[in-house]
Symmetry: C2
Subunit: 124 residues, 2 copies
């Protein structure tokens, strides 16, 4: 598929698909006329990228962790340098911290909404 379809199917501006490529997050094939050519797998890939970006990870980090998350659980040994592993451990920690922070605050919001509803519903 070309960039327009991928854009529609992922809800991502073309501009950003090109940006993610520029940042090395995705690598598109090229048709003979120079157009980018994507296969189905890019849909999930792009959604994953967007999710991670939305959760606060910078493209630099996403680029590092993406190769470890490919469907066929292949260990890319060439990537598994000590520095790489250290980076992953570090990100693992940071992501866990994020999850905890988000969960805690999300629960607090949920509680708040519950409380608000509790003071309203009885009057109905």
């Amino acid at each position: 598929m070309r960039i327009g379809e991928l854009s529609e199917r992922t809800g991502t501006p073309r501009r950003l698909l090109r940006y993610y490529e520029e940042q090395g997050l995705i690598v598109a094939d090229r048709l003979p006329n120079g157009y980018r050519d994507y296969d189905e797998r890019f849909v999930d890939r792009v959604l994953q990228i967007r999710g991670l970006l939305d959760a606060g990870l910078p493209t630099r980090i996403i680029k590092q962790i993406l190769p470890c998350l490919d469907k066929p659980r292949v260990i890319h040994f060439q990537d598994a340098t000590p520095e790489m592993l250290a980076t992953l451990e570090d990100q693992l920690e940071r992501m866990t911290a994020r999850v905890e922070c988000l969960s805690r605050n999300r629960d607090a919001i949920a509680e708040y909404l519950e409380a608000v509803r509790a003071t309203r519903a009885p009057q109905a």
Copy 2:
């Protein structure tokens, strides 16, 4: 405490403490000489703000949800307009999505690290 101590205790540059104030996330008292004056509660507050920022929430949103998260679970009725509640519901959803995305990817990284270790340890 003054800004320097709050900065040290939260690991946050003074610049940012002033920025958070400018964005309406915190409101500092002032000493007679114009210096900002913070009490203990600001330490947790600032750490919470940093956590949420790190998790991808913009100050605009943080400002909206912070009042609902105060320790004494007080419902701020003046805030509880229908729009406000809708915003909170929306953020609740978005935060849940973020948590799911982060958890999923974090688990995948953990699995990857496990797998790498599994192929190494046996040779030791």
